[in-house]
């Protein structure tokens, strides 16, 4: 393999002396890989907590009037915190803070992020936001129970759980999270643009980097909307302004608020909220493309289309937000506009799905654990995406709004699907991160129980949504329109949810025990082509590349190239040594 030094980059080595003390190495570390694991570890930890919350409220839904420790108040707190934790503190932090940090410098051939100190600040500020969020459980009144969308006026009106300090801590925590994300995001964007190794053109980057890159741009531009709405709601709550709060009575008394616009909050919230879907989805799209290609031993089908689809989705994601607000009373012409844009964004998204399937076609498919999760993602994402087409249409959305159909839709499309990619990605890069293999059998159990479990949980949920069962209710009471079957289904869904939750213990056991007991993995167990598999050490050391930076001579998808000696050709192999490309008119 050809490693040559780049004259104008060699000075970088001087800045990357290995830290010596434990604290410098693992706590205040500026190494992107350590920061990635800190980010990812904390995100998974808080995500597990979010999962426990969901088990709690599922217990109430499946077995009403059975558990004394779940009352209406903490039911709403569990639902709210579950949603917020999963969307922001787990998925956003894990994909961008975790995988973004780990993969960007390794896959583009950089020694580290370009602003390592700010990167370290980012993870610790993120930790602070998690601490503030968790603290809200312990203040008088407890955490907020306003629903994860925190709509005013309800969020800060008496009667809502956590109306005193809970909502304040929630909003402060979000603001702190956004600061953390911005510091990380500046790093990801600048590293991709300015710190790639020689020969790494933008179009030679693996799709994982493309997905993370575009998602970061979306995050940087969309999170401000959440920041702005959080600041304005804090002022409404703390000093009595009326940005969002209308004149109203609460708990039998006239409040001092007047004239505010709750719909303004909805606009701001969803101006963040919809790009947020793609902030989570685009990294998943990118990563799943790489998993499919590596484990099917084929180049990704339509690489350029995949990149352009990522760009198109990124651009369009800013003009679909009001499809979350069809029932807010907005101008029907707006509804028409947003329904149209929503259907348009389905085009590049569908294109990606076709390309994933076509990548598998005639591939040499290895059904290893990462591949199982990647294929599982194609199923769940297609299902979740299709129900999105239903809900994107105003006329279908109106009757389905606020039913379990919506809950089922967004859990399939941005709950289960990205989480399957997260698992696939963890299994895929685990050998690089730890130097050990995970246990394959346990991994397969983890996949099948999770995959089938989520289907047995969410398929029936679509059905009860069609029946008109409303979401957000603590107890259904004597509702005549609901057949007994819906009640029974709720019980079975709860049992599925509990099985899925328990299954994650297999995952935890596997990744913890394999740290010590897993087989030694070697540097490139999947025979993959991208740069992270070509590091001189596994796990890579601080500075990643030893003395010399890699030089790239080809794209990251040279699998099974006709005429090549192996079925994979690493990106660092020059074209005159091994032919490049597959079936594109190259003369072999």
């Amino acid at each position: 393999m050809a490693y040559v030094s780049i004259a104008d980059r060699d000075h970088e080595i001087e800045h990357h002396d290995d830290p010596q003390t434990f604290v410098a190495k693992y706590v205040w570390s500026q190494d992107h890989k350590v920061i990635a694991i800190q980010y990812g570890g904390l995100a998974i930890l808080i995500g597990l907590f979010g999962m426990v919350l969901s088990s709690m409220f599922r217990l109430q839904l499946g077995f009403p009037d059975t558990f004394d420790f779940i009352n209406p108040e903490n039911y709403y707190q569990f639902v709210t915190l579950h949603g917020m934790i999963m969307v922001v503190y787990l998925l956003t932090a894990l994909f961008l803070g975790g995988f973004g940090n780990y993969l960007i410098p390794l896959q583009v051939g950089s020694r580290d992020m370009v602003f390592p100190f700010m990167n370290m600040l980012s993870v610790w500020v993120y930790a602070l936001s998690v601490v503030i969020l968790m603290a809200s459980f312990f203040v008088p009144g407890g955490a907020t129970g306003a629903g994860w969308t925190l709509y005013p006026p309800q969020a800060i009106s008496p009667g809502t759980p956590g109306v005193d300090l809970g909502i304040v801590l929630m909003l402060v925590s979000l603001a702190v999270f956004i600061v953390a994300f911005t510091m990380g995001g500046l790093n990801y964007v600048t590293t991709v643009l300015q710190a790639r190794c020689r020969g790494m053109t933008l179009m030679r980057m693996p799709l994982s980097v493309w997905g993370i890159f575009m998602a970061t741009i979306l995050g940087l531009l969309a999170f401000p909307a959440l920041l702005v709405s959080a600041i304005m709601m804090l002022l409404d709550k703390l000093i009595g302004t009326s940005f969002f709060m209308p004149a109203m009575m609460a708990a039998g008394e006239v409040t001092e608020y007047g004239g505010g616009s709750p719909v303004l909050f909805q606009h701001l919230f969803w101006f963040f909220g919809h790009p947020e879907v793609y902030i989570v989805a685009l990294p998943a799209f990118g990563i799943v493309s790489d998993l499919l290609s590596v484990h099917a031993r084929k180049n990704i089908f339509g690489y350029r289309m995949m990149v352009w689809a990522i760009l198109a989705i990124g651009g369009l994601s800013f003009i679909v937000w009001a499809h979350h607000m069809y029932v807010s009373g907005m101008n029907p012409y707006f509804g028409f506009f947003f329904a149209t844009t929503t259907l348009i964004i389905a085009v590049p998204t569908a294109l990606k799905v076709y390309n994933w399937v076509l990548t598998l076609w005639q591939g040499n498919i290895h059904l290893r654990v990462p591949m199982l999760f990647a294929i599982g993602f194609i199923f769940t994402f297609t299902h979740g995406g299709l129900t999105g087409l239903f809900l994107g249409n105003v006329t279908i959305d109106l009757p389905l709004s606020d039913t379990y159909f919506v809950v089922a839709h967004f859990h399939m499309v941005m709950g289960v699907s990205p989480v399957l990619v997260v698992f696939g990605a963890i299994y895929h890069w685990y050998p690089k991160m730890t130097g050990r293999m995970y246990n394959e059998t346990l991994g397969k159990w983890h996949f099948w129980l999770t995959f089938l479990g989520t289907y047995s949980l969410y398929l029936p949920m679509h059905y009860i949504g069609f029946l008109g069962v409303p979401r957000r209710y603590f107890a259904m009471g004597n509702t005549d329109f609901m057949p007994d079957s819906a009640i029974t289904l709720n019980t079975s869904m709860t049992i599925s949810a509990l099985i899925i939750a328990a299954t994650q213990l297999i995952f935890l056991y596997n990744i913890i025990v394999s740290l010590k007991k897993g087989e030694k993995a070697g540097g490139n167990p999947w025979k993959a082509t991208s740069l992270e598999w070509l590091t001189p050490d596994t796990p890579p050391k601080h500075g990643n590349w030893g003395h010399d930076l890699p030089v790239v001579h080809r794209w990251a998808y040279d699998y099974a190239v006709p005429g090549a000696p192996d079925d994979y050709t690493p990106q660092t192999v020059p074209a005159d040594e091994v032919p490049v490309g597959r079936d594109h008119g190259v003369d072999h």
């Binding site: 602003f115 020689r198 531009l221 401000p224 909307a225 000093i239 303004l264 701001l268 003009i319």
Partner: protein, 220 residues
């Protein structure tokens, strides 16, 4: 939300147009010698400059969203326009001067005219601090006249927008303080040149933001 949409539309269109230009005519599955020679640095500027430009895009989004919120909230019948203190004009002049002096210092730093850097930085910072003090005095004048934050959304927005702008200015002053300290302890222009160049861009940006905000506050 039109204002935000236009601002972000321009930003996103620029990014996507630039990325498309990099990618449209490529055939990544073919290995070209020209590609092998690409340095891996897309823009011919310092990485800190790229970091700053990215941050300015974020700040544009923040201010654009505040302005959108302002225009939407303004439509409600309870809106009572605020008559802004005249002092704001003086503050604006301070900020314009700060920006000019920073630019003058930047030119000196780029040309290596050492003796202009110390006074330039000091005066630019002092003018900025005067601007911020002036904003605080304007707040005091308003609250002395009975215009409190929570009285009316117009008042609330005035305090909010000036505070957010002021906080951004304070962030700039932190970087300014670091390079000023360096210069006063005898460092040469080379060690602070980049910082001064980037701060100049940041000062111009915040001046532009202030002029837009001030214009909006005055006209509504």
């Amino acid at each position: 939300m039109y204002i935000t949409l236009i601002l972000l539309g321009v930003i996103m269109a620029t990014i996507i147009w630039w990325l498309l230009r990099q990618t449209l005519s490529t055939q990544p599955w073919v290995s070209a010698a020209a590609d092998d020679a690409v340095s891996g640095t897309s823009l011919d500027v310092n990485r800190k400059a790229v970091g700053l430009m990215t941050f300015l895009a974020v700040a544009t989004s923040v201010f654009g969203l505040f302005i959108s919120a302002y225009t939407i909230r303004m439509e409600e019948p309870d809106w009572r326009p605020l008559s802004e203190p005249t002092l704001l004009w003086a503050n604006t002049i301070m900020l314009v001067l700060a920006s000019i002096v920073y630019h003058w210092t930047r030119n000196a730093a780029v040309k290596g005219i050492e003796e202009r850097i110390k006074p330039g930085l000091t005066v630019a910072g002092a003018l900025t601090i005067l601007f911020l003090l002036g904003q605080i005095v304007a707040w005091q004048q308003l609250s002395a006249a009975g215009f409190y934050v929570a009285n009316n959304p117009a008042n609330g927005f005035f305090y909010l927008l000036t505070a957010v702008h002021g906080l951004h200015m304070l962030g700039g002053l932190w970087v300014w303080a670091r390079s000023t300290m360096k210069v006063w302890t005898g460092a040469g222009s080379d060690s602070v040149r980049l910082s001064i160049e980037l701060c100049t861009v940041y000062w111009h940006f915040l001046l532009l933001v202030w002029i837009v905000l001030f214009g909006m506050l005055l006209s509504t």
